[in-house]
Symmetry: C2
């Protein structure tokens, strides 16, 4: 269930739980929480903002606080924040007393159109991103597009990347209509499109894997350049989609649009061919690899599909991305 804007406060007021607790981060607590009057009665657990919080140590702290606040199986956890907060809220709710209800209130565009939708939860480990987690569908996803006013444009663009991906994979005739910045109606449309796909294939046995377009290479970019170059998730995925389009004979309109959009809107990727071996190695350790073979979700003209690719093809597509967009000054 996805509810927006005006109904959000009403929905919160109808919650009937013995304990309702908000999980949020310090930035969101200061900038966004005051905009939700209906949330003011609830106790909260507050974590440090940023991807570094998506780890087991934070989970231990959150679970302990959930216990201290008297939460039981009839309690509700509300994740108020971006993707880091909603991923953590979903994960903690899914393992606390073998699972309690969670509601997400995404406050970033990326979380509104992607991270908060569909029940994938997870944390990072020393050996990879989202390597530990669960599938735990939220009871509801509530949002107010007006909270996006506090978001830097760079973060809005990250949200656009995932929104565009969803349309390219699921609505191949409508992607041209999505332009930056997204309208409120488009945000709702993308969220519903993703939710519909997820409901058909909750545990990603099939079609849901389409949404991994850009993520096989993109996660490796993110892993390598997140800390050293402050590359954001959406930015890594934007370059990942571009590199993955070079794996096959992509629709020319689609390719041209995306090449232009990425080059004009996303910071230049710090990739050089010196990093190639490490990128290929990181991909082989990814969740989506099957016994070392790489799988890619790709937007073929005949319809989206997940296909295996050999390492040589991936290597060539990295070369092509490098030569065309990165090698020049």
């Amino acid at each position: 269930m996805i509810t927006r804007a005006s109904e959000t406060d009403e929905y919160i007021q109808t919650l009937d739980a013995n304990r309702t607790v908000i999980l949020t981060d310090h930035n969101v607590e200061q900038l966004v929480l005051p905009k939700f009057a209906a949330l003011s009665p609830f106790r909260r657990i507050c974590i440090a903002a940023g991807e570094a919080s998506k780890c087991q140590e934070t989970v231990n702290t959150i679970l302990h606080q959930m216990h201290q606040l008297g939460m039981d199986r009839n309690s509700i956890l509300i994740g108020l924040g971006g993707g880091v907060v909603t991923d953590l809220a979903g994960y903690c709710a899914s393992i606390y007393m073998r699972g309690i209800k969670v509601i997400h209130i995404p406050t970033s565009l990326l979380a509104m159109v992607d991270a908060a939708i569909g029940g994938k939860t997870g944390i990072n480990t020393a050996w990879g991103k989202n390597m530990v987690g669960t599938f735990h569908q939220p009871e509801a996803v509530l949002y107010k597009p007006e909270v996006l006013n506090t978001l830097p444009e760079r973060h809005l663009k990250c949200g656009f990347v995932e929104a565009w991906k969803t349309f390219v994979m699921c609505k191949p005739n409508e992607w041209r209509e999505l332009t930056f910045p997204l309208s409120e109606a488009q945000i709702a449309d993308v969220a519903q499109t993703k939710l519909k796909l997820v409901e058909e294939d909750f545990r990603e046995q099939n079609k849901r894997a389409w949404l991994n377009f850009g993520h096989t290479i993109g996660h490796a970019f993110e892993h390598l350049y997140h800390q050293s170059h402050h590359l954001l998730h959406g930015e890594a995925i934007a370059w990942g989609m571009l590199a993955e389009m070079y794996l096959f004979d992509a629709n020319q309109d689609l390719l041209l649009f995306w090449e232009n959009w990425v080059v004009n809107n996303i910071p230049k990727l710090p990739y050089t061919p010196l990093d190639k071996e490490r990128i290929l190695h990181l991909m082989q350790a990814d969740k989506k690899s099957k016994d070392g073979t790489l799988h890619f979700a790709l937007p073929y003209e005949s319809g989206s599909a997940v296909v295996p690719q050999n390492v040589e093809s991936v290597s060539s597509s990295l070369d092509r991305m490098w030569k065309k967009h990165l090698s020049k000054a």
Copy 2:
């Protein structure tokens, strides 16, 4: 799916996974693993035996080793051991890469008839038993009753306690037929009886909660006396069932049988009225409590049911247990 004895090795040989890894403990590795020739090709992760391993630190170590052994979403984890091992194997499998397949090979009677059946997984935390966990149904539960030959009688009796509980709650006309030691056919019958109930109510919204008979008070006994007096889980549950029978007008045959069996087969509970406050407090923090109200699964003559009880009744039933069975030398 539950398979026994002769078919176990055959089933293992048909497993078609890119990596199959055994989780076990050092005792089981030495005493029981050699009895399963079909398991010899597989790599293993070995933990310290005992309830103290059911914690987050062990989970971290297991997950890391799963990664180092190259396990991915198409791999299978086999939990070979007692309830501690099968609970950990189920939990780690449920959160590794958002869930992989698990197969249990219980090697204690308690795990064969109870812990390994039904997909409840979990670890203990500083604030309580099984407070973190998931529901993750195993692909199969395999067993060989002959491995019980290495088990001390005290542990066999713990298995009998849970077996008797399942029959009392689910087959109220057949509990008289269960006597210690259980036959192989009875072990299979109890396991199937539990599995049938679980399949009707996997997430314990309803009837599955019947299996908590004895566990509301029993978990508090276990928490208090496990380390100080080496009380085993099944022994705590045996006394817990007895104390919970004093909460209501139990069937006299049932009560007399259980009073006799517990007094003659289970070590005396170290409870004294000085511990009462702590026991009541521990129960209120349990997962099964709803907003502080205690709920008990009880075997009424008219049919099993889960009912709330006030603290005064619980206090009286503890008094009755104390006076009748524990206060004398």
